[in-house]
């Protein structure tokens, strides 16, 4: 098991209960999507798993084995925005996690080169974030998350702000990376189509407070590609998941 949540709730200082209670198990190497309307606490769940916030009650367990044994960080996080340092070029941005961990420069350089090659940005190491397109910035952000070779990749609506063509391409690249690297991926999104396309399991959440409404296993042939996106199976899965999501946007104000 890579991540295990038991009875997790999160109540903010304002008294709003954003999440839970929530139970969730994520297997090692699994690609899981948390799907739900805005404000259903899916991003909060991700921040709790990352340790960026503490749960109000319940337990969050994250397997911290192989990556930490290798001396690097076990969790990679990709935010909704690229969240790059505007004053540093691509290379330095990707280097950040290693610099913070005091990794020797020679080791670090090799890893950075590899991470940038994985996202196809080897030619842009000297560029500054403002010189890159939205999709390329997101790739840098992804490379930065991968550079520590984490066991778990947490992604918070990473492609939500991108145009559809760029998003499709990044979806395919992400799937290829996941197949090659065998990481556990927890992917937060509000797009039914994206969640079905990418994940092995889709967890539909309800709003206020965020709880698990239903779960779907997406059993589709691997590797998935553009032909899956246009298949009847895909359309069927999307219909099922959409129906499960429907209560949360029917007649609920503010959801």
């Amino acid at each position: 098991m890579a991540v295990r949540l038991r009875g997790v709730t999160k109540t903010y200082d304002s008294g709003v209960t954003a999440l839970g209670p929530l139970d969730l198990d994520v297997a090692r190497g699994e690609f899981i999507s948390l799907l739900g309307p805005s404000g259903c606490g899916k991003s909060t769940a991700l921040r709790l798993i990352a340790g960026l916030a503490a749960p109000s009650s319940g337990t969050v367990e994250v397997a911290r084995s192989s990556a930490e044994a290798r001396g690097t960080h076990s969790i990679g996080f990709v935010f909704q925005e690229p969240t790059l340092m505007p004053w540093a070029n691509v290379w330095e941005n990707v280097r950040l996690p290693l610099k913070l961990a005091h990794m020797p420069v020679a080791d670090a350089d090799e890893r950075i080169g590899k991470a940038l090659a994985q996202v196809g940005l080897s030619e842009f190491v000297q560029s500054y974030p403002r010189e890159l397109s939205g999709g390329m910035k997101m790739r840098v952000s992804l490379a930065r998350a991968l550079v520590t070779d984490p066991d778990i990749l947490l992604m918070d609506e990473p492609f939500a702000a991108l145009d559809e063509i760029t998003r499709f391409r990044l979806n395919n690249d992400l799937l290829a990376l996941w197949r090659n690297l065998g990481k556990t991926v927890i992917f937060v999104t509000h797009s039914v189509f994206e969640s079905v396309y990418l994940s092995q399991r889709v967890v539909v959440m309800t709003a206020r407070p965020g709880r698990i409404g239903s779960e779907f296993r997406i059993d589709a042939g691997e590797p998935r590609g553009e032909e899956f996106r246009t298949s009847a199976d895909y359309a069927g899965f999307c219909r099922t998941v959409s129906n499960a999501l429907a209560p949360s946007y029917e007649g609920r104000v503010g959801a």
Partner: protein
């Protein structure tokens, strides 16, 4: 156009001035003609340049003290709320009390050279302090989360995140401080006046006033404003060079 028009205005103004003085035969101790001021500038260059050097050194000392003091105080305030709440009101008090009123007091308690530098510091440090504080508080929240995720030490967060984020603000503060430290130095020299043993430009203006050497007053004044313009230009240039690769303020229109 933006360069030519002010020069045309300047030439026209000087021409009119020269004409009026000659036409009405105004005596130099009432209003000297521009040509006379210019001749005085060259003839008295020995005295004036020594005074200019004195004032500039004072200004530089005040500016450096203000930069170090302002940034250091902002960093302290950023680390400790206790310190900020205890001391910030006094920084404001120091700022809002007119320096011309403080200068005579300082001259009583401090040797004149020190008093002049302290005056320059008092007027110049506040913009650095408040701008740096603003900058340190304007760090991108997601980036801060990223540093937290990778367990950055407080020192790493300061060096790699907070200071670079605050840099545009700090440079803005320094740009204001440059002009203000010149004003502070001049005010203190004026306050010391003829009683002082000073030899700065402001002292030269006061002294020339008593001697009815009006052309020299104008020449010294001209030097002061040129010094102010040069200081501002230098700081703006430094700011541009440091920020040009990444900050919005330094980018051209096309990008």
């Amino acid at each position: 156009m933006r360069l030519v028009l002010p020069i045309v205005v300047l030439a026209a103004g000087l021409g009119l001035w020269e004409f009026v003085v000659r036409f009405y035969d105004i005596q130099p101790y009432v209003l000297p003609a521009p040509s006379l001021i210019f001749r005085t500038l060259i003839e008295d260059w020995g005295i004036l340049s020594a005074s200019l050097a004195t004032t500039l050194i004072t200004t530089l000392e005040g500016f450096v003290a203000a930069a170090i003091g302002g940034i250091a105080l902002a960093l302290l305030f950023n680390q400790s709320k206790l310190l900020e709440y205890s001391l910030f009101p006094y920084a404001v008090v120091l700022q809002v009390t007119p320096v011309i009123a403080i200068a005579p007091l300082l001259l009583i308690y401090l040797p004149q050279e020190a008093a002049v530098v302290v005056c320059a510091w008092i007027v110049a440090f506040f913009p650095v302090l408040s701008n740096t504080t603003l900058g340190l508080n304007s760090v991108d929240r997601n980036l801060a989360g990223l540093f937290q995720l990778y367990q950055a030490s407080p020192l790493q967060t300061l060096c790699y995140l907070k200071l670079p984020s605050a840099l545009p603000y700090i440079l803005g503060g320094l740009r204001i401080a440059g002009g203000l430290s010149l004003i502070g130095a001049v005010v203190a020299e004026i306050a010391a006046g003829s009683a002082g043993a000073g030899s700065g430009l402001a002292y030269r203006i006061a002294e020339s006033g008593y001697r009815l050497n009006i052309p020299r007053m104008f020449a010294a004044l001209l030097l002061l404003s040129v010094a102010g313009i040069v200081i501002y230009g230098l700081l703006a240039l430094v700011s541009h060079l440091v920020l040009r690769r990444w900050h919005e303020s330094a980018l051209g229109k096309e990008s």
